[in-house]
Amino acid sequence: MTLLRQGFGGQGARPPYLASWLVARAVADRRREELLGDLEELFQVQSHERGRREARRWYWRQAANAVVDAIRDRRRQPKPPAGDSFMQTINQDLRYAFRSLKASPGFATVAVLMLALGIGANSTIFSWVNSVLLDPMPGSARTKELVQFTYLYKGDVMPSFSFPDYQDISRAAKQVTGIIGWDDLSVGIVVDRDAERAWAEIVTANFFDVIGAPVPVGRGFTAQEELPGTAATVVLSHAYWQRRFNGDPNVIGRQVKINSQPFTIVGVAAKGFHGAVAGLSYDLFLPIGTQPAVMPGGGRLEVRGSRWLSLVGRLAPGSSREQARAELDSTIASMRTAWASQNRYVDFQAAVFPLDNSPDGGISVLRPVLLILMAVGGVVLLITCANLAGLLLARASSRQREIAIRLSMGAGRWRIVQQLLIEGMVLAGLGSVAALVALQWTSGLLIGFAPPSELPIHLDVAVDARVLWFTAAIAIGTVLLFALAPAAMAAPADVATTLRDVGAAGRVFSRHRLRRTLVAAQVALSISLLVGAGLCIRSLSAAAKMTPGFQAEGVVVGWLDLFSAGYTSEQGRDFYARALDRVRAIPGVESVSLSRRIPLGFMGGGFTDLTVEGHTVSDDDPQGVALNSVGPDYATTMRIPVVKGRDLSTNDVSKQPLVALITETMARIYWKDRDAVGGRFFFGQPRPDQPPQWITVAGVVKDIKQRSLNERPQPVVMIPIQQFYTPNAVVHVRTATGLDTISGELQRAMRDIDPRVPFYNVSRLADHTKAATFQQKLAGDLLVVFGALALLLAGIGSYGVLSYLVGMRRREIGIRLAVGATQGDVFRLIAGSGARLIGAGVIAGLLLSIGVGIGLESLLIGVKPIDPPTYAGVIGALTIVATIACLLPARRAASVDPTTTLREE
């Protein structure tokens, strides 16, 4: 004892570490330091007086006592132990959440399924947006810097330039590090005598450098290869190299034949790079100098009037799209001055688009649909959240007693909110996992929406880190949306009152109002989705009724490629004549014709300018007219009504006077009130050095749609393919025979004439022209699915709220019945409150729908955004669902037995 009083000098042995650690963990902060100090001090005395061993034993005993005391102490305390860490409480909450969800498996299943659906729809759509819009050119570097150069002519976007245009623009461009020009074509390629079709991109020599796609095997193109007539070289795409050459590294230097011309393979492009067009996958890249060799119609490289190249530039660091546009505008202005004598580039205005929003190519088709889908996905998620919030509120009400007890036991309000949020997170987490599992499958669905087309469509949707992050963010956002409000409301302000009279009507008024708002919101959102779906469906049926000017049903088409078979024009004409004769002789064939291209396909047509006899040139004249080469009986085969004159016939051959079919719009523009039949015109501008090649109008036909069903009637010229030979044509056969039968017959006929000529892609014309309504079909289909789903959710939501309401008001209803209200009164009371609830949603939904209609306007064909039949239909559908949702609870309320109800409490 004296030792203590005098201050036992110095520091001796240390007390057992583990024991003092245990004491420190167990004892409350307030007393920890003093207790440990006292123990340590006494430990020194003990070890001095009785030795180290005894002292340690003593210390352990003391520590055990302290821990037992602390535990006893903690039990006595009503508050949670102050030593709990955040992670510990999260852990507890997680366990608790799983337990309470397991206790109500029905609720948990419904909630997880709804979340999986909502989150899954969004991640799926995002995975599409991610690969189509956010990464428009896979395999290339810094796609954001790439822009497409175009010009506007009288408000229309024109994406094509001539090669001399390209050279002028490229030379003058300072705002870009480089500009490439490209065009695509289908070619015949022969490797070791095996012939097949392939898609090629014909590109300027700087293509791979500017796009930022390296050529890892072999080399890219040199400037030398831009000159016509130089050595023919080809770069393979990685995918084609793998498919056709099994990835053989010795492929460099090999000879192949492309469109009957010898080519040398010089390189293989990087893996994952498919060419300069999003959504399409090219097999070959050819230098632009080979154009005269591989493209029908002769050399275009020196022809300023031949516009066929798409231009893509890479913005220089620090340059903006607007600066590039201004520069292009001034380049065009100087070109206009330089070519003023030929009246070129008049009314041209520069337009520069980001690559992910270019008016050209697959993205322009998918972009509006994807943006609409993003919005639809968001709405579906909102509906899901509203519905879940409703479910959770109901759950929170029934758990109010539990929560009040926890609060009175000393749980913090935040602790309760945290608990409910964690339950929400568990639900959303399970939902996201389900969504991600489904995503493996749903992300690939996009390709199923791709329209039938002869183009090499390639929609490779990859689920990458960005998609996963998006899903996580959506899940967290969802939890905040659906779980926060119920959680905040679940912590009642007045614990005592809640404990006393849970269940009495009116106590939960504010919660009630929230649930009603949620249901009204669901009704409103589902109405807007349904209106969107209705508008798309109406567009489709309007489009089906809208005649494109020809009848696609009953026509089978097949593509011929005489060019790659190395035909001269003489041989080609002969082939066409024999092919038509052969096909005409097939039993069941009504009529047969040829055409350079099919109408309403994705492949745009050619344009040409022309000079019409007796027509004074004016500013109102179109920039050019659509041009097509067709075979005899074209109007008959396509069932295009001939208004005046005659259809083309087998007599319109090369030695006969040149003739043409024109459309009514063309006749109206160039001949006005004169008679067009017998009128004459020639292609291009008058030239003093050579006499014009006059073409006589043989017949005028009704207008036909060329690119889209929405377009204004276009001036179109159709010239006989025998007089204006083209080595690529599509055989059009009108027949009642089924596709499979006729396909075999046609293949045999072509093989009989010449087995070397590729005849491919035999299909129904109607399948191709469906491409014209592809957007409406896609948007319509998806909106119908989501809209029906939303309607179902809204119906369940309204039913839930009303049943809940009836449950809450049982006592009140009992009293009403007891004091003389009839069952009819009660029925009207409940049905009325349901009707008010849904009515509010309907009004909000109709207002919302007007916005939806305007958003969809660009996709609508023949339907106004505010379309009364659509609205009537949607309101009708909703009324049916709403009536069911109201009637069931109202009937239950009316059948309440007052004596039982009043005795219940």
């Binding site: 330091e33 100090g37 001090e41």
Partner: protein, 113 residues
Amino acid sequence: MTRIPPPVLGEFEQIVMLALLRLGPDAYGATVSAEIETRSGRGVSVSAVHTTLDRLEQKGLVKSRVGDPTPQRGGKRKRHYEVAALGMKALQASYRSIRNMADGLEDLLGEPA
């Protein structure tokens, strides 16, 4: 005005408070424990001493102040205790009642030397 009787003390509480009185200004957890151990000859739980002192302080029977840390305590501070006025009254009451109850039983209980 009714007088509020001082709280009744438990046996261990009495012992702890007596130790405080004996130790005077030097009374803190370790010395109190050691004092009880030497005086009563029985092993003492330091934790129990602490708990008791804590409880007595909450009842207002003892007062405490924080003292300096010393090296043999591993640098941890100590808390000095002294008996408060109310505690003194309670202790006097306890002692009075035990003495009154023991009066005349000295033979049986054994009078301290």
